[in-house]
């Protein structure tokens, strides 16, 4: 055996072992996962097994027919690309395994799955949740894993296709049993819709149209052009996702954003008008939040809740004139201003993309119906009662899930002390007491969501009689 061949066999064996170390499941029978996670982990395992078979065939071919030695280096580099691909999967597998059903808010995830599945083109979708050590939420990947998977299939023949309509979402490991902060996942679902529904293709035409209006467009180099396109695409997608999230669950998303990034603490700094390479300025984002909330009618409700400073903050940031937005790029200094101007010209088109995506599934404020349900949810929580079934004027109803979530969030923001006053030994200024009851409110709301899910499932049962709400 030649030295080159022996080296090749050693390298392929190392890669074979590396792939196995990623896809082989640890023996942890006590953990159970949602079906979407099981599906994702199964995909990785099948991909790994197929890759290992491919490697063996690859080596066999090299042994049987050594061929043109001058081509060997071209072929060898392919192993490095396969290794890098598995290096990217390496980051996804363990966090997905860690996100078992006891460490994620299952009732909320199921609610999101049902809601998202009603959007045209996203029927049958599901969310595979994984954990991250970052205090943030991620849509993983940005279209890339599917793209990789397609390319990988072409390179490693026989590879399984990436599961259809599967959104891979990362959430902070510490937030497994909470609700409110996790509402930010709705933004990540926007990325999923953006990718799955091919919004990028229609947006890229708009991006090019707006770029053509820039002076010097004809003389721009290809890297400069792609840099401008990338900024416009990133910023537009972020705005799309924010509007999508508000369109899905109303103001609760904006509240969660404020809380996650402690916007109250940072809103007086100059940073709020600053654009970043991949994200628009907070002032710009909240301008879009407010516009989306107004166009869906939610602002009528927020105007009646003056006790939370969150609403004031949204208004304040939304009121910052666009002329004050800034973007400094160390990479392309001279293009920073023009690309920001181009974005502001492009931005109004994003609202219509979200309208076209959600259509009649856009959750608009339902006026008195929402006011009544939100009021009742708050009242129930004020007495420490899970608001699954609401009784008003001797009539039983079940709340709409979005009304439930918004009612609970408003209660948490404005009225937690009302609950604490009713409980002996609880001090409003004790942070540990307050923290405990805030957790309870989230827990009760998740329980109510779970109850609503059971009800909707039983209603969907074929040949079964509809369940009366009083049975819950």
């Amino acid at each position: 055996m030649s030295g080159e061949l022996a080296d090749l066999i050693r390298d392929a064996a190392s890669l074979h072992q590396f792939i196995g170390s990623i896809y082989k499941r640890r023996d942890e029978p006590e953990r159970t996962h949602r079906e979407a996670t099981v599906q994702f982990l199964r995909y990785v395992r099948e991909l790994g097994e197929n890759s290992q078979t491919f490697l063996q065939t690859y080596i066999q071919r090299a042994v049987d027919a050594p061929g043109d030695i001058s081509l060997a280096r071209y072929e060898r580099q392919g192993l490095t690309t396969i290794r890098d691909f598995w290096g990217s999967l390496h980051e996804l597998v363990r966090p997905a395994e860690d996100a078992h059903t006891l460490s994620i808010p299952v009732a909320f995830i199921e609610f999101l799955k049902r809601t998202l599945s009603q959007v045209q083109g996203l029927e049958g979708c599901d969310l595979a949740i994984s954990h991250t050590t970052a205090l943030n939420y991620f849509f993983n990947p940005r279209a890339d894993l599917k793209y990789y998977a397609e390319k990988y299939q072409a390179v490693v023949g026989g590879s399984p296709a990436f599961p259809r309509k599967l959104a891979l979402i990362e959430m902070p490991y510490s937030q497994g049993t909470n609700l409110f902060m996790n509402l930010v996942i709705c933004h990540e679902l926007g990325h999923f819709a953006f990718e799955e529904l091919g919004i990028e293709a229609s947006l890229s035409r708009e991006i090019d149209d707006v770029l053509k209006t820039l002076s010097g467009y004809d003389e721009m180099s290809e890297p400069d052009l792609s840099w401008c396109r990338e900024r416009l695409k990133y910023w537009s997608e972020e705005i799309y996702c924010d509007r999508f999230a508000v369109g899905l669950i109303g103001p609760a998303y904006s509240f969660a954003y404020v809380e996650l990034f402690d916007m109250i603490g940072t809103s007086d700094t100059g940073d709020v008008v600053e654009f970043y390479d991949t994200h628009p300025a907070d002032a710009c984002r909240f301008k879009e939040h407010e516009d989306q909330l107004r166009s869906c009618g939610w602002w009528d409700l927020l105007g009646q809740n003056p006790r939370t400073s969150y609403v004031d903050l949204i208004s304040k940031l939304a009121g910052v004139p666009e002329a004050e937005y800034t973007y400094d790029s160390e990479e392309k200094t001279s293009l920073a201003d023009p690309v920001l101007k181009a974005f502001l010209a492009l931005k109004p088109k994003i609202a219509s993309l979200v309208r076209d995506t959600l259509r009649d599934k856009m959750r608009r404020f339902r006026g008195d119906a929402d006011r009544k349900e939100i009021g009742l949810v708050r009242r129930y929580l004020g007495y420490g009662v899970v608001p699954s079934t609401l009784v008003s004027n001797k009539e039983e109803t079940v709340p709409d899930p979005v009304a439930l979530i918004n009612g609970a969030y408003l209660f948490y923001l404005e009225s937690l002390s009302e609950l604490m006053k009713k409980i002996a030994g609880q001090s409003e200024i004790s942070l540990s007491h307050r923290s405990k009851w805030a957790e309870r409110v989230e827990m009760w709301t998740l329980k109510a969501l779970e109850d609503l899910s059971l009800l909707s499932r039983r209603k969907e049962t074929p040949n079964g009689s509809p369940v009366e709400s009083s049975n819950l």
Binding site: D68, F85, Y148, H187, S221, E230
Partner: protein, 145 residues
């Protein structure tokens, strides 16, 4: 926050894209098989056209993906001047149909293999050692990988 991972992802995409066409061309050189080439070649031509003259390229989803990725376009641009890219587009187009002059076809395929090998190589290198980015960190929900 997402910048590093995003760049890595773009480079890995570029490496896989290059590997697909390299493998297809290797099959052509070794055995004359055009089976993999049928799918890989149009994508390669379209993507290279988009990275070379995007103003006049028809931006299909494949091409759009290339032209909105600064790291990918910059990598190709750093490796090959415009004229070399245009010449390679011609070479790839010539490979779309079987050439009775097998020696000429083989030479064209070898040139193309070497071209994409260099792109794959640079993409892999950049993926492991991304160029330093501006230090400002994005606040943000979202994309990794």
């Amino acid at each position: 926050m997402a910048t590093f991972n995003d760049s890595r992802s773009q480079y890995l995409s570029l490496a896989l894209f290059s590997r697909q066409i390299i493998d297809a061309l290797l099959d052509l050189v070794r055995s004359g098989s055009r089976e993999k080439l049928g799918k890989a070649l149009p994508d390669a031509i379209e993507s290279l056209e988009a990275a070379t003259d995007s103003r006049n390229a028809a931006l299909s989803p494949v091409a759009s993906r290339i032209v909105t990725s600064y790291d990918q376009v910059r990598t190709i641009d750093e490796l090959f001047p415009l004229d070399d890219r245009r010449q390679m587009i011609k070479t790839l187009k010539a490979l779309e149909t079987a050439n009775p002059n097998t020696e000429e076809q083989r030479n064209g395929a070898l040139q193309a293999i070497d071209f994409f090998y260099k792109i794959e190589n640079r993409a892999l290198r950049n993926s492991r050692h991304p160029a330093p980015k501006p230090s400002r960190v994005a606040r943000g929900l979202c994309p990794v990988n």
